[in-house]
Symmetry: C2
Subunit: 203 residues, 2 copies
Amino acid sequence: MNAKFPLSIAVLGSGKGSNFQAITDTIQNGSLNARIVCVLSDVADAFILERARRLGIPADYIDPAPYKTKLDGAAELKTIKRLRHYRADLIVLAGFMRMLKSRLLAAFSGRIINIHPALLPAFPGLESWKQALTYGVKITGCTVHFVDAGMDTGAIILQKAVPVLDQDTPETLHARIQEQEYIAYPEAIRLLIDGQCGAWKKS
Amino acid sequence: MNAKFPLSIAVLGSGKGSNFQAITDTIQNGSLNARIVCVLSDVADAFILERARRLGIPADYIDPAPYKTKLDGAAELKTIKRLRHYRADLIVLAGFMRMLKSRLLAAFSGRIINIHPALLPAFPGLESWKQALTYGVKITGCTVHFVDAGMDTGAIILQKAVPVLDQDTPETLHARIQEQEYIAYPEAIRLLIDGQCGAWKKS
């Protein structure tokens, strides 16, 4: 089904927010029936917050202390509260460097997606473009997937292949994967909006 | 470097030999500087042996008893002897359903290749197209790789991507992967002949 009203998206990020920018660009050019209702970050000076503010989008820092690699405890509760406050339909992780835990996953069950710079299930975890180069694959890519309690294990929505070139360095390969991410992420959100992805329906 | 003389290839297979046929076709149309010097099979009535005989290529059955899943013991020794007798430069596994063991691997170190119907390291092992459908990936493919003692773990020579379609069954997906295998396997052998693959040099 086509959603009549724009999908309300919350974005969680820890870094520069280039995927957030790609999604915003796609919304602004009219080819994605969605709006970004807020950007949340666990890094106070992450550029993704600055990008959001420049676009007039609510942008909140959430202090993740005392945890280093997960969003848990008071930070998890505050995040849930913020996401509900902004009435997010879909949570989009865009370079968010923490594992989500059970309360947030349960609160937005089947409504949290992530993009991973490899063709999952190959090369989960960190710096997957380096993993791919080290292994010596000739094709890698990116994967948009639902988020579950595992590390990059949720149901896949969309994948894009990227050839590995003989002369690739980690940097050149990562850059070519990112180009595909900027296409893949808006396209995956469009599949969700259009109801073309079996695992998800906007309520 | 370009090899001056045709590369001598031995093919090991357990089934119908469609990849063997694709390689033979490529040789016959003049676009692969190679010749098949023998076909060996662990299955007495495998169609790959019949195909070879029709083409006038030596085709030998090697009794694998008493082992079920590996080529070991007397069968391994006999295989090494046969491969040396036919002076094979390169051993091509084409649907060969047994693990190779250390004596054969050592005798033809860096000279044995296989094709696997998935984008390794994803979905090693049996019926990888079913594994891919069950996981729900949107892109799979095939991988030509060197054979080592692991299960589909050797260095990769070439990969081809194949999209998974919403309406795919195991059969339709497997058929589309095989179409790419028939292109990939001759192409990978050509890379080896032309010295374009760093891991291998024809002596």
